[in-house]
Structure formats: structure tokens, C-alpha cells
């Protein structure tokens, strides 16, 4: 009897132990997770004085870190190596989980953490050559020993932090998913660069365009997807004179046929709204006579935030701005002499090549009337609780064969290889680190030269009164039309024949109009001597911004704030006056009359308390959907024309054959579509009003900032009251928008404002995790405390001293 009882108890004990020590489904291991001494209760902590002083190896001198009242660290070191080592340590202290997770995502390693559901994602990352691209970057860095030493110091700082951790101090996400941080490396920093490159230059529509071309022909294509819209207010002012570009040679077009293939499914693309605004005014346009610069990069709204604000001070630099956790230096910011910012240049830097293999072993492919050897890269994808998945990716001289019979393709002898500037390596970090220490326009111009991808509109202002904007990246010098559609991988003339020389990248310095700006619009007008095709250029934010700066003589800081928070919906203002008269009021029911009168009285501002934007957006989205039913209902992959062109078609070609709804017997025109989509909108408005009690835009849009881990609701922030939308200067849509707003006046010393939708701490248990969101939503800014030296103690809540370790 005793033995039976004992055995039963033993089994129960072991079962309890096992089930509390292991993950069960999506539940964390509850014993580990909930015990007060090591579990999640240990993360119930707001950063404070308790972060005691520490000793770090390899420091040559004491480093002082002062935290201000928003937990922004101000690091004071006596040399740059100490500075970057400290930056690595301090960043890891606040953002370790995020740093590692983002680089795991870039490396196609999420299956290791999340399990099999991430496998398809991981495969596409490997097959687009993310790890290969990171390795190419590492190779380029090796020639630049100065900056490599900084990267290594930064890496070591992170690793010293990780080394000092015990499992009870792991960030909460590690405990939730039951895994442990691994060592940081140069390669992880390179992977972070790839993460950004994919985010900003990882999209293209070549295969969709090829499908369209094959199905509808060139004339239709050119009408719906033009190289230039009928209006153009480019990044580089139209009046720019290109005649000093001597010996420019755009590659001449070969007389070859377009490869016409149908593709059913393409790999996932970055968010189409990934973009930004920046602008700077020259002293004569400034209220104070100092140049003023502003920037707001529009990215996915995530927690922990993509940005980490920091001040970096050493005898060589005093720089303030936002950094990317995982990369040394400041990415967007200012120092005593200059300020700089970035928006995405949105250029076509991905081209697809059709590869014809000799046989299904994929060891050789046709090229130049011969065969060329391919190489293979074995991608081992570890999967949590499952066997490792092995994917073999064939590499050609164009790049990795992303699509083949193993992945989204259907023939083992045909593949599509990806040519991408993201695979070219390059010294982007050198550019960023040199910008940190730049003192004037010449320094800036030299710093940006090394930058390859993702191409950026790098804006500049200095305390000497210069303003400038360079569109910097490495751009293939393409022949007219090259890379718009699928290319022939066997034809040497379809290879990229060379690159636009860096000094011929479009740029402007101190233009007559007194301001420079960019908002992801067309970089240039058609007089620029190289081929640039329309890869989804913005046509609304840029016009609002430029019109604003043309509207008066001088501008002050409040003007800058107002522009950041400008909710004017130019798109609606250009189409609604045409749509509304089409709706005949006499034929309407009372509900319909009510909605019509509401939209009529709207002044085109996407403010949170307006109902106009709710009506407009539903109306326009439905209108787009029924206009392009030919596209959305096709079984091959196609893409809607850009919004500007959609509206252009409705205005200029209301009887175009695409206006017809295929599913109905009658032939519709744009006017019929206005009416149909209006009636639909009225029913939706009734539903919304019944469910929410109002039609307010803020409630309808329901902006949220989602936790990086699949938007874990418990760690996210919902229903943030902020206006705007995609295509509006305040480009805040539901989960996307201004990820950092910065305004810098180049006085001596500079005065700067900044805010981002998050908080400095990566710990959901800290009050600094999301404390900046409400100020961001209200259009407020932090006055950035640009400390002159470490003795300046205003707003400082505590200090941390990093001592050199004596051993």
C-alpha cells in the first residue's frame, strides 16, 4: 500500500515539476515564469538610481552616463572607443530583447523562437539573401579599420552586459518564450543594417508589372503606371541645372524583348507607407536667421520603439539624436555644428532575372550563349521543438534564386534571381559614424559617400547657414525601362552595366527657394540625365510641404510643429469636389442625405473629432476596390495603380474600360462607381454608428502601437487619439506613422525638440516603456536637453558610472 501511494505521489510530483518547468502550448513555463525570485516579478521594475555603478573591461577611462527625466542617457567618455563601448552597454541595458529579436528576424531565425509558424517567413528572408547581404557588409567593413574598431567596441559593450546577466534579469520576453540571449557580434549589427535595408528598399513590383504587361499590353501599362505623373514636385527642385554633369552616360537600351512570364504569388513586401518627411530652411527664411531642420521617419509603430534617443559626448564629438538599438552612433540627429535627417529615397534597386538552368540540379545556367556555374548556399533553419529545416538556395551572378520549384515557383529548371543593392555590402555605418562628427557641409558630403543602401534623402543644415539634400545610395545606371519588368538572366545586356557615379547622385545645396525638403516623392524631374522610374512615388505630402514653404517669407518653430501635425487631406480635396456633384440629392434616402451633408461640410482635415475623414476613407477605399476589380480579382499577382493615378483616371478617363465592374451586366463609368461606393459607404457608416456610437475619425482609425512580438495585446497600446493618415503630412495610419519627430534650430548651441511614440525602456514593466506616446499623439515635443558637459545637471534624475575594470 505504502509503495503504491509513494509511486502515485512521485508521479504527481514529477508531472507538476515538468509542466511548471516547460512551455505548454503558448503558455510560458509557469513555475519559472511566475516564481517571485527569478520570474516575471523580477521585471516589475522602473529604471532608477538602483542601476548601480558597474565595472567594464577594456575601458581606458571612467565613463559617466547621466539619465534625464525621460530616461534618455547622456554618455560622457574621454575617447570614442570608450564612448561606443558604453553606448553598446547602455543600449543593451534597456533594449536587449528587441536588439536580438530584430536581428533574428533579419536572419530568418524566428522559427527558433516561435516555432514552425515562422518557417515560411524565415525561408523568404534566407532566400532574399538577407544573411548573404550581411556577410557582404562585413567584408566591406574590413577595409575600414577605424570604424570597425568602434563597431567592435560597441559589440563588446553589449556582450559585457549580457555576460553580467543572470536568468532572473533577462528581459520579460525571454521568460515568456523561454529562451536565452546569445552573444552579440559584428554580424548581428550587419543584420540590423539588412533589417533596415529590407524595410526601406526591400520592395518592388517587377513581377506584378510583368503580369500586367503580359495580360494588357504596353499602352495600358504606361497609362496606369507612368514614369512621371502629370504633376511633379520633386525632391531636387525642378530648376536645378544638370549641365555641369559632364560625360554623363545613361546606359543605352539593348534591343531585346521583355520576358513575359506569369507569376502567381510573390514574396512579402515591406509596408507601402514606409517613408518619411524632412525639410530644412535657410537662414533668410528663418525667423531667427538660423537654419532649421526637421525630420519624421514614418515606420511601423512598435514597442519597444525602433529608436533609442541618446547623447554621445567625447572630445571628438557631442552628438544627440536617435540611434538604432544594435548599431553604434546616432542615425538621425545633430551636434554643435550640423543637423541631419533621412527620408527614404524609394528607388528601384531590386530587379528580377529569369534563370534557365541546364537541368534540375541547378548547377549551371544559361548566360551569354554558354553556361555559367551557379553556387549553392545551404540554409539551416532551426525550428523550436522540431527537426531543423534545410533549404538549398542557388546563387547566380545576379544574386540568389529566390523563386524556384522549392519556393513559390513551379519549374525545377526555371528560377527568378534577385539583383538587389542590398547584396552589395558597403560602409553604411561609416557614413553614420562620420555624420556624428561632421562639422560642416564638406564633412557631410564626404561622410555620405560610403553609403550604399537603403538609399536615403539625406538632409542637412549647419550653423554656418548651409542647407542641403543629397539623394544618396548606390544606384544601378539603368537603360531606359531596365528593371521595370522581369529581366533575362541569360542576356549580359540585362545585367546592371554599372552604377551612377556618386557625385552624379541628385543633390541640391542652398537652392534659391530657400528650403530643401523630401517626402518620398519623385527624386527629380525628367531632365535628370539618368533613368529613374516611378517606383511608387508619393504625390501628396510633398506638395503640402512645399506649398507651405512657398506660402510666406519666414518660418518659426511653431510653423514646423504645425507642419509635422498637419492633417490636411490633399487627396480628398482633389477628388471629393468631383465626386459630390455626381450624387443627386433628390434621389437620396434620409440616411444618405445625412452622410452627404456631413461630407459636404468637411474641410479636408483628418482631425480626430471629424466625421468627414471616416466617410471619405470608406468611400475612397470602396471606390478603389470596385474600380480595380480587374486587378484584385485576378488569380495572378497584380498591383493597384498608385493613388494619384487612380484619381487621375477617374478625373481624366471616367469612361475607361477598367471603370466597368466585371460582375455586373451593365457597363459602368467612374460616375456610376462614385454612386455605388457612396451607397455602400452609407450602410457602413450606419453600422459604425450603431457599434461605436459615433463616426469620429480618431475612433475609427484607432491608432495603436503594437509590441514587436506579433503585437502582443498586453504589451501594446491601443486607441491612441491622433489624427492624420497615410498620404497626409501627419502620416499616422492605424499602426504606422511618424516614428520620431525632430526639429533642430542651428543656433549656437542648437536648440532641439524631439518625440517618438514609445519610451526609452524596452521593459513593459517600466513607466518609461510607453510614456512618450500621449505627448506624441497630442503633437507635443520634448525639449531635448543637449548637455554641454557632464556638469550640466538640469533634468538629470540619476547617473551611472562605468569604471574601468582593474585586473
Amino acid at each position: 500500500m505504502k509503495y503504491i501511494k509513494f509511486t502515485i505521489t512521485l508521479v504527481i510530483t514529477l508531472t507538476i515539476f515538468y509542466s511548471l518547468n516547460n512551455k505548454l502550448g503558448s503558455l510560458p513555463p509557469l513555475g519559472k515564469f511566475l516564481n517571485p525570485s527569478h520570474g516575471v516579478w523580477q521585471n516589475e521594475l522602473t529604471e532608477s538610481q538602483n542601476n548601480r555603478n558597474v565595472s567594464l573591461q577594456y575601458l581606458s577611462d571612467k565613463v559617466i552616463v547621466k539619465y534625464d527625466d525621460n530616461l534618455i542617457p547622456h554618455i560622457f567618455a574621454n575617447n570614442d572607443l570608450d564612448l561606443y563601448r558604453a553606448q553598446g552597454f547602455v543600449t543593451a541595458q534597456h533594449r536587449l530583447w528587441q536588439m536580438e529579436f530584430q536581428t533574428h528576424a533579419a536572419a530568418g531565425r524566428l522559427s527558433e523562437i516561435i516555432g514552425e509558424p515562422a518557417l515560411s517567413y524565415d525561408r523568404s528572408e534566407r532566400r532574399r539573401g538577407m544573411v548573404y547581404g550581411a556577410e557582404q557588409q562585413l567584408k566591406s567593413w574590413e577595409n575600414d579599420t577605424v570604424n570597425l574598431a568602434f563597431i567592435d567596441a560597441y559589440t563588446d559593450g553589449i556582450n559585457q552586459y549580457i555576460h553580467g546577466l543572470t536568468s532572473q534579469n533577462y528581459p520579460v520576453e525571454y521568460k515568456l518564450l523561454d529562451y536565452a540571449p546569445e552573444k552579440w557580434s559584428r554580424k548581428k549589427t550587419a543584420l540590423l543594417m539588412m533589417y533596415m535595408t529590407k524595410m526601406l528598399a526591400g520592395g518592388d513590383s517587377d513581377l506584378e508589372y510583368t503580369n500586367f504587361l503580359k495580360k494588357y499590353g504596353k499602352e495600358r501599362f504606361d497609362l496606369l503606371y507612368p514614369d512621371f505623373f502629370d504633376i511633379n514636385d520633386p525632391v531636387i527642385p525642378k530648376e536645378t541645372d544638370w549641365s555641369n554633369f559632364l560625360n554623363v552616360e545613361q546606359t543605352s537600351a539593348p534591343n531585346t524583348k521583355t520576358v513575359l512570364d506569369y507569376t502567381k504569388e510573390t514574396i512579402s513586401k515591406p509596408h507601402p507607407d514606409n517613408g518619411s518627411n524632412n525639410w530644412a530652411i535657410s537662414p533668410n527664411k528663418s525667423y531667427s536667421g538660423n537654419a532649421i531642420l526637421a525630420n519624421d521617419p514614418h515606420l511601423g509603430l512598435n514597442l519597444p520603439s525602433i529608436w533609442f534617443a541618446i547623447q554621445l559626448s567625447s572630445p571628438n564629438q557631442n552628438t544627440y539624436g536617435v540611434s538604432l538599438p544594435g548599431s553604434p552612433g546616432v542615425v538621425i540627429g545633430f551636434n554643435e555644428k550640423i543637423a541631419w535627417g533621412m527620408t527614404n529615397a524609394t528607388r528601384d534597386v531590386i530587379d528580377w532575372y529569369k534563370i534557365k538552368f541546364e537541368d534540375s540540379t541547378q548547377s549551371r545556367y544559361q548566360y551569354d550563349n554558354d553556361f555559367k556555374m551557379a553556387t549553392k548556399r545551404i540554409e539551416k533553419i532551426a525550428i523550436r521543438d522540431k527537426k531543423t529545416f534545410i533549404d538549398t538556395v542557388t546563387y547566380t551572378h545576379h544574386g540568389p534564386v529566390t523563386y524556384d520549384s522549392n519556393f513559390k515557383g513551379n519549374s525545377d529548371k526555371i528560377g527568378y534571381a534577385m539583383g538587389w543593392t542590398g547584396h552589395l555590402g558597403g560602409q553604411n555605418l561609416r557614413t553614420l559614424l562620420e555624420l556624428n562628427t561632421s562639422q560642416n557641409y564638406e564633412d557631410y558630403k564626404n561622410a555620405i559617400k560610403h553609403y550604399v543602401a537603403p538609399a536615403q534623402n539625406v538632409i542637412f543644415a549647419s550653423n554656418e547657414g548651409d542647407i542641403a539634400l543629397w539623394i544618396q545610395g548606390k544606384f544601378p545606371n539603368k537603360w531606359e525601362g531596365q528593371g521595370k519588368f522581369l529581366l533575362d538572366g541569360s542576356n549580359p545586356k540585362h545585367d546592371w552595366q554599372g552604377y551612377i557615379p556618386q557625385h552624379h547622385n541628385a543633390h541640391t545645396k542652398n537652392p534659391n527657394r530657400g528650403f530643401v525638403s523630401s517626402a518620398n516623392q519623385h527624386p527629380v524631374d525628367s531632365t535628370y540625365p539618368y533613368y529613374v522610374f516611378n517606383d511608387g512615388y508619393e504625390t501628396y505630402r510633398n506638395r503640402v510641404i512645399n506649398d507651405f514653404f512657398r506660402s510666406k517669407d519666414t518660418f518659426n518653430i511653431q510653423d514646423f510643429k504645425n507642419l509635422h501635425n498637419n492633417n490636411f487631406n490633399l487627396q480628398a480635396s482633389e477628388l471629393l469636389p468631383i465626386m459630390i456633384p455626381v450624387i443627386e440629392e433628390s434621389n437620396l434616402l434620409s440616411d444618405e442625405k445625412d452622410i452627404l451633408s456631413k461630407i459636404k461640410s468637411w474641410k479636408y482635415n483628418n482631425d480626430i473629432n471629424e466625421v468627414g475623414p471616416t466617410i471619405w476613407q470608406t468611400w475612397f477605399d470602396k471606390l478603389t476596390e470596385i474600380t480595380w476589380d480587374e486587378i484584385s480579382q485576378d488569380t495572378i499577382a497584380l498591383e493597384y495603380p498608385f493613388k494619384y493615378q487612380t484619381i487621375y483616371m477617374m478625373k481624366e478617363y471616367p469612361n475607361d474600360k477598367f471603370m466597368d465592374i466585371m460582375a455586373t451586366p451593365e457597363i459602368e463609368t467612374a460616375h456610376d462607381l462614385f454612386i455605388k461606393s457612396f451607397k455602400y459607404t452609407v450602410t457602413i457608416m450606419k453600422d459604425i454608428e450603431n457599434n461605436n456610437g459615433n463616426l469620429n475619425w480618431g475612433d475609427r482609425k484607432a491608432t495603436y502601437v503594437g509590441h514587436l512580438l506579433q503585437g502582443l495585446p498586453a504589451f501594446s497600446k491601443f486607441n491612441i487619439p491622433i489624427g492624420g493618415y497615410s498620404g497626409i503630412v501627419n502620416a499616422t495610419s492605424q499602426n504606422h506613422g511618424p516614428s520620431w519627430r525632430m526639429i533642430v534650430e542651428m543656433s549656437s548651441p542648437p536648440k532641439a525638440l524631439g518625440i517618438y511614440p514609445g519610451g526609452q525602456s524596452g521593459n513593459p514593466g517600466s513607466k518609461y516603456y510607453d510614456n512618450l506616446i500621449s505627448d506624441w499623439a497630442s503633437g507635443n515635443y520634448l525639449e531635448l536637453n543637449f548637455m554641454k558637459d557632464q556638469k550640466d545637471d538640469a533634468d538629470i534624475i540619476f547617473s551611472q558610472i562605468l569604471n574601468p575594470q582593474n585586473d
Binding site: T13, L34, N35, W41, L45
Partner: protein
């Protein structure tokens, strides 16, 4: 009575001290040992270590989270689908510790009866 009190107190103190050096399951070792060395009655052999560790973990959890205005516990209580109820999260935390201790105490006691022929 003294046995009850000493089992309770010694379990509590040892679990607390060992938690600084060993993972969470050290409490199972402690309860097993005290169950063996300080034998109690049939039900109390489960109940006393259960009570001891439940109380300890709940107190610790409360102390840690109240010091930070329950910012994280509120989120964890949402994450674990406890409807954001912090008190429920603290209670479950205690229950998990208590259950592991109670069953280990019982096992320790039963082990003793196997080896110590009365």
C-alpha cells in the same frame, strides 16, 4: 504543534534563502527534505508546506509589484487571460509555489515512511 510551526517556518526560510542561489524548483527540494525530517500528519504533510510557500510567494510577488505600482503585473494578468486582475495573478503565483511545495512535502513524508520502519 511545534512540529507544525517548525515545518512551516523552516520550509519558508529555506525556500527563501535557496531561491537566491537555485532555480525555482529548489522549493521542491526544501519541502521534500522538511517533509522527511519534520514529519507531520496525513493532511498537514501537504497543507503546511503548501501554506508556507503560497504565503511566501504571494508576499514576495506583492512586495515586488506594489513597489512599482503594479505596472507589469497588470499586463501579465492580461497576457495570461486573467482579465487584468492583479490579485488573481498574485493568488495563482502563490498557488503554483504552494502546490509544488505541498506535493514535494508529501513525497518526502512518504519516503520517510518507506525507509523508517516504525
Amino acid at each position: 504543534m511545534t512540529r507544525l510551526v517548525s515545518n512551516f517556518a523552516i520550509t519558508l526560510i529555506l525556500v527563501y534563502v535557496l531561491s537566491f542561489f537555485l532555480p525555482w524548483w529548489s522549493l521542491m527540494l526544501v519541502a521534500f527534505t522538511t517533509g522527511w525530517l519534520i514529519p507531520l500528519g496525513k493532511f498537514t504533510q501537504f497543507f503546511i508546506p503548501f501554506l508556507s510557500v503560497t504565503l511566501l510567494w504571494m508576499l514576495q510577488a506583492y512586495a515586488l509589484s506594489s513597489a512599482n505600482d503594479f505596472i507589469l503585473s497588470k499586463k501579465i494578468a492580461t497576457l495570461l487571460m486573467l482579465d487584468g486582475q492583479i490579485s488573481l495573478l498574485i493568488f495563482i503565483t502563490g498557488l503554483i509555489g504552494g502546490l509544488s511545495a505541498g506535493i514535494s512535502g508529501t513525497l518526502g513524508y512518504q519516503c520517510r515512511t518507506l525507509f523508517h520502519k516504525k
